[in-house]
């Protein structure tokens, strides 16, 4: 009897872990491109919050989660333009502008929520799609093939991101802009343009990651719904050493811890709720600390490129 129960719990944790990895993975893959091009986008938490609200609101008003997803993507892209304007064009200190973007997204999402919604309102979000045949595989089917569309999408994006980064011309330009912007500039590539592209694409993905939280997971919006997930995603980029596969591993490790702690709460195991909640944040700090010594990072990360200045 106990064995069956434990098996069910384990399956539940694994399946939830696969699903919960989605927002981390989505935001971290976007951030990976941004950082590879040399820009630190610390504002993705704010972008996720705004994306989460706009996606939720569009779904609520238009009744179609697909439109909600598009709205989240668009919101993220607009925030990306804003960040690019500040960090690339005006060459502002990227850490500080990230804090500004975070506060802006946080405040604006809270403001719009209070103005247009006000209280707890549910939406009909994305429904799980069972993949025929594959979802019938015992155990694995439940864990891997019984999720909503965005979950499948983000896992497909992992190899795709790898391909784009390492096997396309654009990917090479991105890596050049982040490692040796002078070289890219000398070859006639506009470093600023590449960084704009990466920031907009990466921020759109962050917006979608936020949208997943409301449309694909909670089916509602609450204030500060991201609860630090955007920052955790940035930590995952470090942990994953700026590689899609590393980020995938980190996201899964992380979401499993998350699934485990929510399971602890659901099962009512005698453990203070507050202490269970801090687990993901402690794991993040530990993950960042053990990444110590892996010194490789995009060489020009965080440095605004100014032609003629010596880096």
């Amino acid at each position: 009897m106990e064995d069956i129960l434990n098996q069910g719990i384990l399956l539940g944790i694994l399946a939830a872990g696969v699903r919960l990895a989605t927002p981390y993975l989505m935001a971290a893959l976007g951030e990976m491109f941004t950082q590879r091009s040399g820009v630190f986008n610390l504002g993705i938490e704010g972008i996720m919050l705004l994306g989460a609200f706009v996606g939720f609101f569009a779904t609520l008003r238009l009744g179609n989660p697909i439109l909600g997803i598009l709205a989240s993507l668009g919101t993220g892209a607009i925030m990306g333009v804003l960040m690019a304007l500040v960090s690339v064009t005006f060459k502002a200190e990227q850490g500080i502008s990230g804090i500004g973007l975070y506060m802006f997204g946080w405040g604006l999402s809270g403001l719009l929520f209070r103005l247009y919604v006000g209280g707890i309102t549910s939406i009909k979000g994305l429904q799980p799609v069972k993949i025929p045949l594959l979802s019938d595989i015992p155990y694995l089917g439940t864990i891997l093939f019984h999720h909503n569309g965005l979950v499948y999408l983000v896992y497909i994006l992992v190899p795709f991101a790898w391909f784009v980064l390492y096997r396309t011309t654009w990917g090479l330009k991105v890596r050049a802009a982040g490692t040796k912007p002078e070289a890219a500039d000398t070859l006639g590539e506009s470093v600023d343009r590449i960084r704009y592209q990466c920031l907009i694409a990466g921020s759109a993905m962050a917006g979608l990651a936020g949208g997943f939280l409301t449309i694909g997971q909670a089916n509602m919006f609450v204030d500060n719904i991201t609860a630090g997930r955007g920052f955790i995603a940035i930590a995952l980029v470090y942990f994953g050493r700026w590689s899609p596969w590393g980020i995938l591993a980190g996201s899964l490790l992380f979401s499993m811890a998350d699934a485990f702690q929510s399971m602890v709460q659901v099962l009512g195991i005698n453990f203070p709720y507050e202490l269970a909640v801090i687990l993901p944040y402690v794991v993040t700090i530990v993950a960042l600390a053990v990444s110590f010594g892996r010194v490789w990072a995009p060489a020009a990360l965080g440095r605004a490129y100014e032609r003629g200045s010596r880096g």
């Binding site: 802006f104 930590a235 402690v282």
Partner: protein
Amino acid sequence: MKYELRKSWITQILVLLAALVCALLVGAVFILLAKSNPMKAYGVMFTGPFSSKFGISETLVRATPLLLVGLGIVVSFRSGILNIGGEGQILIGAVTASAAATLFFQWPGVFLLPLVLLAGCAGGALWGGIAGWLKARLSVNEILSTVMLNQIAAQIYIFLIRGPLIDPQELLYGTRAPQTALMPETLWLYRLMPGTRLHTGLILSVLLAVLVYVLLWRTTIGYRMRAVGAGPEAARYGGIRVEFYLVLAMALAGAFAGLAGTIEVLGVHHRALEGISAGYGFSGIVAALFGRLHPLGTIPAAVLFGALILGADMMQRAVHIPAAIVMAVQGLVILFVVSSDIFLRKPEYIGQILNFFFPKRKQREGTEAKWKTS
């Protein structure tokens, strides 16, 4: 950190005010979205805080924690650490101070008050110091670690005031509101104006601002901290123990935020309760940046943003614009302030920026590089 005071004070103040005006203009768009009149809303927001004894005193009550947090931000940013852990450091400071007051309540007030203040500082210093140590020893990005520590602190805080430190009265009556017991009156900070909440914490924080100025610009320790901020490698080459000063700067920043939390407890609420910080950890960053990362500049900036926060509350009541707008506006202020920096640093750059958006002619035709994938 590129905040050298290159231009005259007047230019700097004008640029800062322009940044604030731009942020407020964008804010006006949001007010329009809310189908309200921006002129009327901002009218309430800017006249309210200055038009009565209540308004002025409450502005200063809010400016006090902003200034304290801001001073910590000045110390840490000047030392090259982007500390956004103010929120968590405030909470830990407030709760360690309350714990000290609960444990040693039988001590006479003369000893107890300094003890409680020190306990609050120590709690905040520990919380900030963790992030400093992680950065110095394990090169953990301080922005990420402080955000995580904020989340952890929020949970620890609520756990303690709901559990071990809860007011015994709350248990007795079964209401179980998460708050600590009322502090003994010997610990309450003296109220400066009868009938208002303005307390001596304001004087303390202004004195500390002067002290921070002396520390940073008139002592060796301050010089070394600024050297670490200006360039850690050069500082190391110059024989400065970079790691030590990173931890010290973060511990100091944490101590200031912890003190802000303690002062909120002792001066305003007289107990630790839920939602004690009201975003001061973030608004303190805005105040410090607006004060050009100078301790004395942070004083007027803290008053300005104290008024802004109070004004937003008044606006919410008068014209029903949610006060959350103030967070969005503050975020915009940061974005505009850091963006305007380039105009002070490199005025000639403006032309290049215009070129980027409105290219006059295609310059690179024919010289397109041949890229190959690896």
